[in-house]
């Protein structure tokens, strides 16, 4: 059995640590790329959402390196993601490249079935080892999130342009050659040190933009055309509340442990969206409101075409925009999105925000 799994932002780092620690043989698909998307397009239903198409590309490229089993998360709706595993299994079968799927979810058959699936994955490993590896992987999720957050801070402020990107990208590819959670943690710490030591302009007051939207397209930098690096290099400091760590914390750990959930966003979304409707609609609306209340200059919503919950959120955002006085830009991505058009809109939005800030002179992007 040679396991593979789909990419979603930096998730591969923690999954790699987990599989390394458990001694499972695996293939990490090449980073999301154009060919993966093309492969996905060829085989996936036309109207399926972008993440599914990229997933299929990931599997097919991993298959080329000998993977035969897919490790995937599941769910029970109402978001389409919960049925990804079944649709993907069917698509690969029809394409004559059938792969085995191990779906991590609590299925209808109960928790026993989940344990059976985990057992299948971790042949031979004892429970203690599994728990320890899972805990280490979770720790790495949070560490990587922190690292990313640090890059949001340094990128617009760096004196030597492109410095943050260089360090951060080197880390993303270097981590592939490091084995085991211990060494990965060390590398993260080392990279953290490098980022902290970047020379920054302490007086610079960057624009602040909050990123909201569907989880995959906001987290995965291929799907969003590297929006984090693009905005950062335009002198914009960004923030994103939805991260893998946040998801793990709020939806898994806090369900298992008696810790109260952080529901500030739900409270903030209440006047606009009364109930949880699935996906990240509530987070999108609530976080946009929270950004509006704080000193943020703008909000950008990103989602894949035809994403159901985000369409609802999008139609509510104009009211948030009006009530909180914060401009919102919605970017919708799919396989047809052209980078040039996307960039133009992004630049125009940043321009608008700068002008809105008014006469207050700020450093970057000004030409005096």
């Amino acid at each position: 059995m040679k396991v593979t799994f789909p990419h979603m932002g930096n998730l591969y780092i923690s999954v790699k640590a987990l599989l390394d620690d458990l001694g499972i043989d695996y293939v990490i698909p090449p980073f999301n790329n154009k060919r993966a998307l093309e492969l996905g397009n060829r085989h996936a239903p036309e109207m399926a959402c972008l993440p599914l198409k990229i997933n299929i590309g990931n599997y097919l490229q991993a298959l080329e390196s000998g993977a035969d089993t897919v490790l995937m998360a599941g769910g029970h709706g109402p978001c389409r993601f919960g049925y990804y595993c079944e649709i993907e299994r069917g698509i690969l079968e029809d394409a004559g490249r059938a792969m085995d799927f191990i779906t991590l979810e609590v299925p209808d058959e109960g928790i026993g079935e989940l344990i059976r699936r985990v057992r299948k994955l971790t042949t031979g490993a004892n429970l203690f080892k599994i728990v320890r590896a899972a805990a280490a992987a979770a720790k790495i999720v949070f560490m990587v999130d922190e690292l990313e957050k640090l890059s949001f801070h340094t990128r617009p402020r760096e004196v030597d342009r492109g410095c943050t990107d260089r360090i951060y990208r080197r880390f993303l590819s270097k981590v592939l050659s490091v084995k085991g959670s211990r060494d990965i943690k060390k590398l993260i710490e080392k990279t953290r040190g490098e980022l902290v030591n970047i020379k920054i302009d302490k007086n610079f007051m960057p624009l602040k933009v909050g990123i909201v939207g569907e989880i995959y397209t906001t987290i995965d930098q291929y799907a969003s055309f590297e929006i984090q690096s693009k905005l950062g290099n335009m002198g914009v400091e960004i923030d994103r509340k939805v991260t893998i760590g946040q998801w793990l914390m709020e939806h898994i750990l806090k369900n298992l442990l008696p810790i109260p959930k952080d529901l500030r966003y739900a409270e903030a979304a209440k006047p606009y969206l009364k109930t949880m409707i699935g996906g990240h609609a509530m987070e999108t609306v609530g976080n946009a409101v929270l950004y509006g209340r704080r000193d943020y200059d703008g909000v950008i919503q990103i989602y894949p075409l035809s994403c159901m919950p985000e369409i609802v959120a999008q139609s509510l955002l104009p009211s948030v925009e009006r009530d909180c006085g914060i401009p919102v830009l919605t970017l919708i991505v799919d396989e047809m999105t052209g980078e040039a058009g996307y960039m133009t809109r992004l630049e125009a939005f940043v321009d608008l925000l700068l002008r809105r800030r008014g006469k207050r002179a700020i450093g970057a992007l000004s030409w005096d």
Partner: protein
């Protein structure tokens, strides 16, 4: 004067109107339904709703605009789930919020939540909450709810006999248990082609949205079978054959219904009607297509509708499809 409850002719209107009508009328309210879909309703909807929404949601906005000045209340329930353990499209759950934030000058909205995933008694609770606005006694609301269910069952029975919901004159005043219908539209007569038309009720029975698809099929002499004509229990049972349980109401009905029809072996062709950008359809269509392929490779066609669909294009495809299955049948 009786209070007027406005019910937009869109989305679940096509499934639950008889129930709602009987309920509100029993409570002494008057019912106002928006006009049948017209170009103006479509244009109003397209203009007010977000671009990315699907055709049925846009049409719904158009119907709200058509109705908002004619009623004291608008009945836009927040549907999260209409069957145990199954959801529907998240847009239904956010529908009252969407309408409220896009259409101006609305009357009071009755946006009770119906969520059968939470509890089976949730529908009753929602009825109570909505009904108490019209009459003070819980008993009266309970009675109205009972009658409404009764009326709905009669309606379902007519549909199960093979009558197309669009042929039933459901708007007649007063709740009635004798839904009049035109028996000529019953399915599976011995002659003619049997065509299964699978799609959301609001796509199939809004003849403006689908450019009179069902009328055209009837005119071509085809017998139309829809999943609405199949007993819910049969569909639920058949849907168990799927490797992973479907968590959408429409998904399990469409897959279960398609399997049932395929196993009966009376179907000559399958037409899947999907609205552009529909998240649920994008997956369910794929599943149904696979089921059809596995069961003897019956001709299968997907018709996608949106606000731009050209009638000529649909006609051509439909004619070609009917030609093909006619020929396939002769060859047998």
């Amino acid at each position: 004067m009786a209070k007027k409850v406005g019910i937009p002719r869109g989305l679940f209107f096509y499934r639950f109107f008889p129930l709602w009508k009987a309920f509100f009328e029993e409570l002494g309210a008057e019912i106002a339904v928006s006009d049948r879909t017209t170009k103006k309703i479509l244009d109003d909807g397209v203009r007010s709703c977000v671009n990315e929404a699907c055709l049925p949601v846009k049409l719904y906005h158009g119907h709200v605009i058509n109705l908002k000045d004619k009623a004291d209340f608008l009945f836009i329930p927040r549907f999260m789930s209409i069957s145990a353990g199954e959801y529907i499209c998240p847009k239904f759950g956010g529908l009252p919020d969407m309408v409220r934030n896009t259409v101006k000058g609305l009357p009071e909205i009755i946006d009770v939540e119906i969520n059968l995933v939470k509890s089976r008694r949730n529908a009753y609770k929602a009825a109570m909450e909505a009904g108490m606005r019209f009459c003070g006694s819980r008993k009266a609301v309970e009675k109205a709810f009972g009658l409404a269910l009764e009326s709905y069952r009669h309606y379902r029975n007519a549909v199960k006999k093979g009558v197309l919901p669009c042929d039933i004159r459901i708007e007649r005043r007063g709740y009635c248990n004798d839904y009049t219908y035109d028996t000529s539209s019953c399915i599976f007569r011995s002659s003619g082609l049997n065509i299964a038309v699978i799609g959301h009720a609001y796509n199939l029975y809004d003849s403006y949205a689908n450019m009179n698809l069902l009328g055209k099929l009837k005119k071509a002499g085809a017998n139309i079978a829809t999943i609405d004509a199949i007993d819910g229990r049969i569909m639920a049972e058949k849907a168990c054959a799927l490797p992973k349980r479907m968590f959408w109401d429409f998904g399990s009905r469409a897959a279960g219904g398609a399997l049932h029809m395929l196993e009966e072996k009376q179907i000559d062709g399958v037409i899947y009607v999907m609205s552009f950008g529909c998240g649920v359809d994008s997956f369910v269509c794929d599943i149904v297509k696979r089921l059809v392929k596995r069961h003897g490779d019956i001709p299968f066609i997907v018709l996608t509708i949106d606000e731009h669909s050209g009638e000529a294009g649909i006609d051509t495809r439909l004619e070609a499809f009917i030609d093909i299955i006619g020929r396939a049948r002769k060859a047998d």
